[in-house]
């Protein structure tokens, strides 16, 4: 199968991107500045991320739709206000995670942002669960561009007046070149920022305007170090079909009201795990030295018993040291528990730590 290109492919090439194949797309892993500089620039200034490979699923329907979606997502969707967003997941009956996602209430329905590698499968699962009752569009005609970092609000507001008034995890329609575009104040870097859903034919022009105002293109490499420092999960690493939201330490994202009703897919298991506890749980892990423990690194306790595995590990440029997340047996998950990471045959000391590694700078309210 031929790899797909996003509408920003030419711009990436013009910007000396190094490409990798990711979820069937040719995506920029980094540009000439490199991952560390791109990461730091985002934290200090403003970075642009092409996330057009992600799925933009529009589901349109009447009053029944919200009831049907509540059977799927563990959210209080009936009380979700227009243009407000929530983080959630698509689960199996066993509460395994098919995908993690952002769902936003829009006029006449919902917009769901899905991971690139999962979007086709999610569409099939959701079509089946909703019995094809509703109009569902996995929109390939729109690009998705994120702008992240402290200067992003100023830069984007110069191009699109009024975005500065958006609160975190809310969105609205704006005009760009007389076309309606949908913008949410959100992102996945631990920084204040926005995600812009824009028609493919306008994406290049729009992104070049952001660059003219001082923002820089940032590749997937820095996106990974940024989200890891922010303690955010990446599907296929921290999350997969064999892990539940409770094990992933994401119970904050499950509505308490919905747990008490217990009427969504996977709720039996979720309630059982919340009541009885879980065997393994996601934690932050900070190596004591400089050694980097990558994905699949084995974790041992002080008695040299194998107690878990790393799911993501890298060098955190803002932390200026190695950072990791992984799953450990519940009894070893307390903050400051000493563990050992086996890297190239040697065991290196590390500590279980709180997340994030790098403090968030989200904007709560505009004023």
């Amino acid at each position: 199968m031929e790899t797909k290109k996003t509408p920003l492919y030419q711009l990436h090439q013009d910007s000396n991107a190094k490409f990798v194949e990711f979820a069937g797309y040719q995506m920029p892993i980094q540009y000439s500045d490199g991952i560390v500089e791109e990461h730091k620039f985002t934290r200090k200034h403003s970075g642009i991320f092409d996330v057009s490979h992600m799925g933009q699923l529009f589901i349109y329907g009447d009053g029944d739709l919200v009831n049907d979606l509540e059977k799927i997502f563990p959210l209080d969707l009936k009380n979700l206000k227009l243009n407000h967003s929530k983080y959630s997941f698509l689960m199996s009956d066993a509460a395994g995670i098919h995908d993690d996602l952002i769902i936003t209430k829009i006029e006449n329905g919902f917009l769901v942002i899905l991971n690139a590698a999962c979007k086709e499968n999610d569409f099939k699962i959701l079509s089946k669960l909703l019995n094809n009752k509703y109009e569902m569009v996995l929109d390939e005609k729109k690009s998705l561009i994120a702008i992240q970092g402290p200067k992003s609000v100023e830069i984007l507001n110069d191009v699109i007046k009024g975005v500065e008034d958006l609160n975190f995890m809310t969105g609205n329609w704006f005009l760009f070149n007389d076309e309606k575009i949908y913008i949410t104040r959100s992102g996945y870097t631990g920084e204040d920022g926005f995600e812009i859903s824009v028609a493919n034919e306008l994406a290049d022009n729009f992104t070049r305007k952001l660059i003219d105002k001082g923002a820089k293109l940032i590749g997937l490499g820095a996106r990974d170090t940024l989200r890891l420092e922010a303690g955010l999960c990446l599907y296929g690493h921290e999350l997969d079909k064999d892990k539940t939201p409770v094990e992933a330490n994401l119970k904050w994202a499950i509505s308490k009201d919905r747990i008490s009703k217990g009427d969504f897919i996977g709720s039996d298991i979720i309630i059982k795990q919340l009541t009885n506890g879980v065997q393994k749980v996601r934690v932050g892990i900070k190596p004591e030295g400089r050694v980097i423990a990558r994905e699949k690194t084995k974790i041992f306790n002080q008695a040299n018993l194998h107690i878990g595995e790393i799911t993501s590990g890298t060098f955190g440029p803002s932390v200026n040291g190695p950072v990791a997340m992984g799953y450990v047996e519940n009894e070893f998950s307390k903050k400051d528990t000493k563990v050992f990471l086996e890297v190239r045959g040697k065991k290196h000391p590390a500590n279980i730590c709180g997340l994030p590694f790098y403090k968030k700078n989200y904007v709560k309210g505009a004023n």
């Binding site: 892993i29 980094q30 490199g34 991952i35 560390v36 500089e37 490499g221 170090t225 400089r290 050694v291 980097i292 990558r294 890298t314 060098f315 440029p317 190695p322 190239r344």
Partner: protein, 126 residues
């Protein structure tokens, strides 16, 4: 006069008397990206030609460092362990990795000279 040679694993080696200084090439650092971690061999240990003698890690992945000749490790460069970004800045000079007292100078014969290496690097990256 000292002589600099290059290996197919992208190490450079500079021989002065029977002491060889070894590091990784600029081309290697460009392929690796930002180097964020370095592991060097123990001083006093013996390394064998083409065996692993260290590790460099970029933000993306870990790579082994090989030694192009055999010998005893007589010195290592602590500065690149403390600040691995020095390797990206000056790979073929101040950011050397380790020094060996070499056993057999003829092991140098199979290595490439600068022109040969530049050609090899260009071909292997295209």
């Amino acid at each position: 006069m000292s002589e600099v040679k290059y290996s197919k694993e992208h190490e450079w080696i500079k021989l002065e008397g029977d002491t060889a200084t070894i590091g990784i090439t600029k081309h290697a650092t460009e392929m690796l990206g930002d180097i964020v971690f370095t592991e060097l061999p123990e001083k006093g240990s013996n390394v064998e030609k083409d065996g692993t003698a260290g590790v460099v890690e970029s933000t993306k992945a870990a790579s082994d460092v090989y030694t192009p000749v055999s010998g005893e490790v007589v010195d290592t460069n602590q500065a690149i362990v403390d600040d691995p970004s020095k390797i990206n800045q000056d790979p073929e000079n101040t950011a050397w990795f380790f020094k060996l007292k070499i056993k057999d100078k003829s092991e140098m014969d199979s290595l490439m000279n600068k022109d040969e290496y530049d050609k090899f690097a260009k071909e292997s990256s295209s």
